[in-house]
């Protein structure tokens, strides 16, 4: 099967379609919540074949952001379940979208890979008066029983770029990400 591709298309090689893109912190089949406090959004997902195309749409499908982003490929060391002595490197994708001003509305995020696999998630943007610190967000995200799955994405946004967290926050953030990656 591989030979056929090579014969007809030179250096082209078959690709892995079974690794469909799957978003983190955004459950399927339900609307997640998103605060108007956020001026930039971080989307993370596993799988899929680059390049990726990211669209942020309002409910009437008018595009808020539509970009073929430079998605960064990130790696993280996650412990095997039930075995704290060994770990494996997990790869995921990250895209940051700058949003000038989110208004209360329903929006959709649509991410497609080069093979046409697409995930869609819907979010309800709401006005949030209080501000949540990174520590508070980590506390909620670590204990999944205290946080509805529809709020995970919102709390993930309060962490921002994980690179700027302090050492202990990074440890907790790694656990949060690994839990999400194990899905």
């Amino acid at each position: 099967m591989l030979l056929a591709g090579l014969l007809f298309f030179g250096n082209a090689s078959p690709v892995q379609a079974e690794e469909f893109p799957r978003p983190l912190f955004l459950p399927s089949g339900t609307q997640s919540f998103l605060s108007t406090n956020h001026r930039a959004l971080i989307f993370e997902w596993t799988g899929g074949r680059p390049p990726f195309y990211v669209e942020l749409l309002s409910t009437d499908d008018e595009s808020l952001v539509s970009e073929r982003l430079q998605v960064s490929k990130e790696t993280i060391e996650c412990a095997y379940t039930g075995d704290s002595t060994s770990s494996k490197t997990v790869i995921f994708n990250k895209a940051m979208i700058g949003v000038l001003e989110l208004q209360p509305q329903s929006i959709r995020i649509l991410v497609s890979d080069s093979l046409g696999s697409v995930f869609i998630r819907e979010m309800t943007v709401f006005v949030e008066s209080k501000s949540i610190s990174a520590n508070q967000a980590l506390g909620k995200l670590i204990d999944s029983h205290t946080l509805d799955s529809t709020s995970q994405f919102q709390y993930r946004q309060y962490l921002g770029d994980l690179k700027i967290l302090n050492y202990f926050q990074k440890l907790l953030a790694r656990r949060v990400l690994c839990n999400a990656l194990h899905g």
Partner: protein, 176 residues
């Protein structure tokens, strides 16, 4: 097994409405004779249904295979749009390129490609859409095809996807 596991998690549906939408680009703008892929739905323990066929409805837990038959030289690709709007390119991974799957002779492809693998439906009720596309020339932008599918309602698929081929035939199948 990864293939099956992924679909067990993400594409489970209590009652599957299968809309088979068949695109046949029989003659391209340049006059080349096109491919005519056909789709067969095979529930485990059930009877194969060849496209065109009556609508299909399956209960939770049903294991399903698809077969794509190619009668002549062809580029083809098959998508699954789930009831939440997500789109999966379920073409056989070991053959798939960014221009689609190429078959240069009469062929029959099993999906998933593993001999003991199936797509398994869970308890989420919804409409599933299976889209099989074929054309004489390589697909130029499967990403665009996927996004078009994701943004289109069932009734819009025919017109919205027509831009990817010069001739188009759509067959919809649905039953309770």
């Amino acid at each position: 097994m990864l293939y099956t596991a992924r679909f067990t998690n993400s594409l489970k549906h209590a009652h599957l409405w299968v809309w088979l939408i068949f695109f046949s680009f029989s003659v391209n703008a340049d006059g080349a004779v096109g491919c005519t892929p056909t789709l067969i739905v095979h529930p485990r323990g059930g009877t194969e249904s060849a496209s065109p066929a009556d609508g299909l409805s399956y209960p939770s837990g049903t294991a399903i295979n698809f077969y794509v038959e190619i009668s002549s030289s062809c580029y083809w690709v098959i998508f699954w749009k789930d009831s939440n709007g997500n789109v999966f390119n379920i073409s056989p991974n070991h053959l798939l390129h960014e221009y689609g799957v190429y078959a240069n002779t009469s062929s029959r492809f099993r999906l998933p490609s593993g001999a003991n693998q199936n797509f398994t439906l869970d308890n989420i009720i919804g409409t599933e859409i299976i889209i099989l596309m074929g054309r004489d020339k390589p697909f130029a932008d499967l990403s665009m095809v996927g996004r078009t599918i994701a943004k289109s309602s069932t009734s819009q698929l025919h017109s919205n996807l027509s831009v990817f081929g010069s001739q188009l035939l759509i067959q919809e199948i649905g039953h309770d």
